[in-house]
Symmetry: C2
Subunit: 358 residues, 2 copies
């Protein structure tokens, strides 16, 4: 029996991924020089495909890094001399804040209990803030910030840069990129590829900030500083040898998604999320952790399982359905269900059928 992975990342592979690996290996992509024209074609196609899929302005840059976690580090190093500001409501938004601390910056934050969203009207962001950091979809708790709230904050503070972690909501999330400066994700979630590749989408405004920091003698990192990344990206190269085969596979997945159409992917994501939340709301044994519908994640659905009998994760695993455990302290009291493009409506219905039996 082939298992279905509903884990929130690494997750179920996009159905065409194993085939693209095989094709890539056959075509010697694993031996391909990152200074060859064939590599430049892959990077260029990936950049343009992503710009089309996510509706990214053409003057924004697509940089290649190792992970979403690395992207947090590079965003802070390149956009913050001293002051970042963080909306914290879970482990990953907290990680973004901690990253700024570890890099010797002086981050401020607005923190609410894990699992809740923010009262955006209440927040006053300090004047000196250089970068406002959002975690669009808290993978640890399943809270998703409405895009219009992010856009409203960006408009209210037009002189500050905006970073948005969309690690577990891309490609579903439909952002107004022209208001944003550093947006990043990793490929092992919504894109259904094996882990090992992070993507950063960077605005011209963020590039200017990185230049300003370098001119002031502030280190923005070395090979993955924005200036170094851009110097190479303008010729569709990378400073170091990147995961070439992974980039090839991601490019192909993006092509597939363009063929399906992003509208359809988004609509199906919402339909599948609706099925899951309807089940949870009607169940006596399971409950959605996030109560208010506008803040419910469409891509990572977190359920309280304390009323259910037995080890829910194990019972499902025995049926070939692998869900994520709760994050950190909630390991045993929550389950997390990924709802990514690789998960079909049939997969979700099958999962709900098995949950009903518990």
């Amino acid at each position: 029996m082939k298992s279905i992975y509903f884990t929130p990342g690494p997750s179920q592979l996009y159905p065409t991924v194993p085939n693209y690996f095989q094709k890539g290996l056959k075509g010697d992509i694993g031996s391909l020089s990152h200074r060859s024209s064939q590599f430049q074609e892959i990077y260029q196609s990936l950049t343009q495909g992503l710009q089309k899929l996510l509706n990214i302005p053409s003057d924004y840059h697509v940089f290649i890094v190792g992970s979403g976690t690395e992207a947090m580090e590079r965003a802070v190093q390149n956009c913050v001399e001293k002051y970042s500001f963080h909306f914290i409501n879970g482990s990953f938004s907290k990680r973004f804040y901690t990253t700024a601390q570890e890099l010797g910056k002086k981050p401020a934050s607005y923190e609410v209990p894990f699992g809740e969203s923010f009262q955006f009207q209440e927040v006053v962001i300090p004047k000196q803030t250089e970068l406002i950091c959002f975690t669009h979809n808290e993978t640890s708790t399943g809270v998703m910030i409405p895009v219009k709230e992010i856009s409203a904050v960006a408009k209210k503070y037009p002189d500050m840069l905006i970073a948005v972690d969309i690690v577990s909501s891309a490609p579903y999330v439909d952002l107004a990129y022209q208001l944003l400066d550093v947006v990043f994700f990793s490929v092992q979630k919504g894109f259904g590829a094996p882990a090992g590749l992070g993507i950063m989408i960077v605005s011209p405004r963020a590039m200017k900030k990185a230049e300003k920091l370098v001119k002031k003698g502030i280190s923005t990192g070395s090979y993955h500083g924005f200036l170094s990344l851009l110097k190479f990206a303008t010729k569709f190269q990378t400073p170091e040898t990147p995961p070439v085969l992974e980039m090839y596979v991601l490019d192909k997945v993006i092509e597939d998604m363009l063929e399906t159409g992003i509208k359809k992917i988004r609509k199906e994501t919402e339909e599948k999320a609706k099925l899951l939340y309807s089940f949870l709301d009607g169940s006596d044994f399971f409950a959605a952790l996030v109560k208010e519908p506008p803040y419910r994640s469409q891509t990572v659905i977190v359920a309280d399982v304390t009323k259910a009998k037995g080890d829910v994760g194990k019972i499902l695993a025995d049926k070939g359905l692998i869900v994520g455990s709760g994050y950190g302290e909630t390991k045993k009291t929550h389950i997390r269900i990924a709802n990514f493009p690789a998960h079909s409506i049939g997969d979700i219905k099958k999962l709900i059928r098995e949950l009903k039996k518990i």
Copy 2:
């Protein structure tokens, strides 16, 4: 016709690699959580296999990063408050030096013309030096530093930490690890895997230095600071989601190499290198760039092709033999030939046959 890649990295894949990818994908390794026990087993096996293969002391740590270039950054961040010292004789040793500059340190160096080795007796390393940086095998020029010279410097300066880049000489190089503190490589060269994974081997002494820096309030990076890497590595985990599938494949390649035996791999490498250098030394049209045998790289052989007629790289490529062009400014005047475990004696003989025809 299937090509053979003699490029100095990415290079020819180790023959079993495509099969391990297929096996890994079939076994859902691409969906595997990096917090699962199955992942811990992979990382543990990889660590122990590498310790055995390279004869690394058991109290040294094996950390997972994204590339050799990243390893340079992390070595400097975690072992240097102000002063590193660099032996520079090519583009990659220069890159190590530049990394320290970009991170705001005050590196010093002993620089000789590209393509030459060092007069180690002449060098006086400044007292305040915290980290001495070697590039064991200059991939840009094919100069290899004799291991005994590195060991001698390490013994002469016992209070300084020693970093050794073995990016293009692992697993061939046989180091005295107990004298060294940060040794690193990437997998797309001697291990014959696709790019996207770097390995750092770190001594307890280097860990103490990183601790000291953190206590002094100096940033050692964030998620990939040595303290963060160790916190996770002690339970065979990583701070971020690493390239799990790549790690699985690397672990399998190491198992294969253990079965072949490192002695045999080293002996065959030297035999193949001897064939190439003998040909170059006897040729009227080609010449080894490095004249002195003790400094000739056994793994990346660089040849001057200015006397040969036509575009040597292209002529060979038409025969399915892909060699590397010269690095940087020597793009057209040199070719670089990788001699890794993935290259059989038959492959090397075939290449020499075609070179003879030119």
